[in-house]
């Protein structure tokens, strides 16, 4: 019958067309060209204005385009000269005078000088500055200690602080302190974030929205020229797709490999880079009310949770067990003598029984993702199971990251007993100062959402912040760690080892403890 032959013919034609189309373009997944490094990012950058962004994801691009006055020495979190060649600190610790590197030009050809530095900090800090409206500058409080920035001469700049502030040089190395070209800000105004100009080894090439940010080698760089001709940052939000792209050769380098996918890259053709950094993943316990108001119950939670299993199984070894509030990456300030709470459910049960908290009902805030949160839902679920095993009744509530922060940062009182949290900081001061002092309770503008209070800790932290001698600071921090571990305001869970995968065409790649991604030396065949 005609219909039959007709439909059969139609079907054949359709199948043929699809096959031809597929065949025609089958070779289109060609290898990326040498000299062009393609990096799989976790998200589209918000902006390429260093003063305007907050995410590590964006920092990874920025540190290749911009430079700060100081930077972290490779492989450490110690500060070394960058655009400032040297500095001096007044005795009272409130005046920092920096000598600037000469002969440095921004990518737009304008010179880097003291005026440019002043412009940068005034733009962020002075609400009356003509370009303050290119903000908002959410992390400007990193420099809230700065009372004024003054041009001493063309190549010297002086910062006057309103109080001694030990982490200042470290904060200058943080991406928020990266120096932008004043001329470019003046030219682009609010659109500067999409037309970035800095002094770094790469200069901005193009930004194809949601496809790629391309940076190209800066041939006029004052230091050693970059190893790659160009770097392409591709935003691939879905971790799974990122892994697939890596496997399929669509990207050369991917960061933040999901732990469960690490196994995929263990064979030939890929290499995995790992680097522990200043990261701590913990549970905030509500010390103000409920069962966790009792120190014994907080300790019990620390004993009850099998951290080994979490870091080795759930996180596939991409983290280590945390012992206290300070990550080991701050080697100089880390208290080596502290041992993590062992996994001891029996002891936990005993403590809970002693405190009369058996069978307590706990509300547990879990986030679905977020900066440094690793695999928060599986981790939360595993924690929940462990806590239930010692007799708690745990109810999880999951929130998307922004909502989660909106719930947690104002404090857990009246809402929850525990919440996941993770911090990545550049200085041992930051986290405890912002999240463990009694002066940092949420109503006072801090992040101490669990309402921990210990006068001794408060005192130690204030002293450490104003001390200019690093050894003195280190002693104070170690003492603080011992007390905090004993008081157990948090459950200390994990310190993340950041990872990245490169394919075998990428050479000279290494991760930094700062979690930043310096690609200057990377070469691709």
């Amino acid at each position: 019958m005609t219909i039959l032959s007709w439909t059969r013919r139609g079907l054949l034609a359709a199948v043929g067309a699809v096959l031809i189309a597929g065949g025609m373009f089958a070779s289109a997944t060609a290898q990326t060209p040498p000299g062009v490094l393609i990096v799989g990012q976790i998200a589209e950058p918000k902006s390429l204005d260093p003063a305007a962004v907050t995410a590590v994801n964006d920092f990874r691009i920025l540190v290749n385009v911009y430079e700060g006055l100081t930077r972290y020495k490779s492989g450490t979190l110690e500060v070394e000269p960058a655009l400032a060649t040297s500095w001096s600190i007044s005795d009272d610790g409130t005046e920092y005078t920096l000598k600037l590197r000469s002969g440095v030009n921004f990518h737009d050809g304008t010179p880097f000088n003291a005026e440019a530095v002043k412009f940068n900090f005034d733009r962020m800090l002075n609400e009356k500055h003509p370009y303050h409206d290119t903000g908002p500058f959410p992390l400007s409080f990193f420099f809230s200690a700065v009372k004024s920035t003054d041009v001493v001469d063309d190549m010297t700049v002086k910062f006057t602080l309103n109080a001694p502030y030990a982490p200042f040089l470290s904060n200058l190395a943080y991406p928020t302190g990266l120096i932008v070209s004043p001329a470019a800000v003046a030219a682009s105004g609010k659109e500067f974030g999409r037309n970035p100009v800095g002094t770094g080894p790469f200069k901005f090439g193009e930004w194809r929205s949601n496809e790629a940010v391309v940076v190209e080698r800066n041939d006029g760089y004052w230091g050693e020229a970059a190893g790659s001709q160009a770097v392409v940052f591709r935003p691939i939000t879905d971790a799974n797709t990122r892994v697939a792209e890596m496997l399929a050769g669509g990207i050369d380098l991917m960061v933040e490999v999901p732990p469960t996918s690490l196994g995929q890259f263990s064979g030939d053709g890929f290499s995995i880079a790992e680097q522990a950094g200043p990261h701590v993943w913990f549970l905030i316990l509500n010390a103000k009310e409920g069962p966790f108001a009792d120190k014994r119950v907080r300790q019990a939670a620390n004993y009850a949770i099998n951290k080994e299993a979490i870091v080795n199984d759930v996180l596939e070894g991409t983290a280590t067990v945390a012992a206290g509030p300070t990550p080991p990456a701050f080697a100089w300030a880390y208290n080596e003598s502290l041992d993590p709470y062992p996994y001891d459910p029996e002891k936990a049960k005993a403590l809970i029984a002693e405190a009369g908290a058996s069978g307590a009902e706990l509300k547990f805030y879990v986030t679905e993702g977020g900066s440094g949160m690793l695999d928060p839902v599986p981790m939360g679920t595993a924690i929940q199971a462990d806590l239930e095993a010692v007799g708690f009744d745990v109810k999880i509530e999951t929130y998307e990251w922004n909502t989660f922060l909106g719930e947690v940062n104002p404090g857990l009182e009246g809402k929850a007993d525990m919440a996941e949290m993770a911090w990545m900081t550049n200085d041992p001061d930051t986290l405890p100062y912002l999240a463990l002092r009694s002066e940092a309770w949420p109503d006072k503008g801090g992040f101490n959402s669990g309402y921990y209070a210990n006068a001794e800790v408060d005192k130690l932290l204030e002293a450490a912040r104003t001390a200019t001698d690093q050894n003195e600071r280190a002693k104070l921090y170690r003492e603080m760690q011992t007390i905090v571990q004993e008081d157990a305001p948090w459950v200390f869970v994990a310190n993340w080892k950041q990872n990245a995968v490169t394919n075998d065409r990428v050479k000279n790649f290494g991760l930094e403890p700062s979690f930043l991604l310096h690609l200057q030396g990377v070469v691709k065949d």
Binding site: A21, S209, T237, W423
Partner: protein, 315 residues
């Protein structure tokens, strides 16, 4: 006809106005605010409040609505908080990508769906019918994101036939073959469900029509069977298929959200999801108004197509 189009366009205005109110209300009711999203871990109530003031979110709701609406009418959709660029730039750029994806998927699902439905009906209970029914069922029974992920696994990772994600190759792409190459998987994954729905409904529409008296008339005139099916029957069936296409277009547009996430397609759906999560009010509002306007326009053109096809509809 021209008057009809103008009439339909005018009647779309209250619908669009209603949509602006709905989207504005919903976004206002969602807890959390853009400042928290911008500040991230450093969001203290104090910082949040200051930033909200900077962003103009401390004004009363009604006032904010009318400011927004007024600006929009002058073509100013505002600036996105989370992307730090004008909403209109971002939305129109993203919208193009979605149009390419959803448009292709829509054409695919319409053609494949109707073809499958017609063959299925013409060969009712035959082998072709059963085979198509089965394939179509798979299409509508698997979540599209799951299908997409499986396709990536098979065709991109294992067979390396097609690129995993994105809209263009990062290097050396940008032309039409490159686009098609990137489009095949997401468009198919997106079209799967709609193809199934259209095929099933086309099949029953065709069966319905094939029973009509005028088909018997055509046969009685000696019209060849192929023309009876593809001419008389299909044309009449299109009257009930076209509204389904209109509804499915909405589903395809919505379903693009998942596909855009899985295939990293730089479209407006993924952007809107992110924007909702980041509480980027202006971006969500602007984006939704754009999408809705497009949907409304599309539906008007469906109605116009319907009235061109069916002279019985009063225009």
């Amino acid at each position: 006809m021209g008057g009809y189009i103008v009439k339909r366009l005018v009647s779309a205005v209250p619908v669009l106005l209603g949509i602006t109110i709905i989207v504005f209300l919903i976004m206002s009711l969602i807890p959390g605010d853009p400042a928290t999203a911008i500040l991230g871990s450093y969001a203290t109530p104090e910082n949040v409040e200051k930033l909200n003031r900077d962003l103009g979110l401390d004004k009363p709701m009604v006032q904010r609505y009318f400011i927004w609406l007024g600006n929009m009418l002058t073509g100013d959709f505002g600036r996105s908080f989370s992307l730090n660029r004008p909403v209109l730039d971002e939305v129109s750029e993203r919208f193009n990508a979605t149009l390419v994806l959803a448009g292709t998927a829509f054409v695919l699902c319409s053609l494949l769906g109707i073809l499958a439905g017609v063959i299925s009906a013409a060969r009712q209970y035959g082998l072709a019918d059963k085979a198509i029914t089965f394939v179509v069922l798979i299409g509508i029974s698997v979540p599209s994101f799951f299908l997409g992920m499986m396709m990536i696994l098979l065709f991109a990772v294992n067979l390396r036939w097609l690129p995993v994600s994105g809209m263009y190759a990062i290097y050396g792409g940008g032309d039409l073959p490159d686009l098609i190459n990137h489009l095949i998987m997401p468009a198919l994954a997106l079209a799967a469900v709609a193809t199934g729905v259209i095929a099933r409904l086309s099949r029953s529409a065709m069966l319905e029509v094939l029973r009509q008296d005028f088909i018997r008339t055509a046969r009685a005139k000696g019209v060849p069977e192929r023309r009876v099916i593809m001419g008389h029957a299909l044309r009449a069936a299109m009257v009930s298929i076209i509204p389904i296409l209109g509804i499915q277009a909405g589903f395809v547009l919505s379903g693009a959200v998942y596909i855009e996430i899985v295939f990293q397609w730089p479209g407006v759906g993924r952007m809107l999801v992110d924007a909702i999560l980041k509480r980027d009010l202006l971006l969500v509002q602007g984006g939704v108004v754009f999408v809705a306007a497009c949907y409304v326009l599309f539906n008007i053109s469906v109605d116009v197509a319907q009235s061109l096809l069916d002279p019985r509809i009063k225009t």
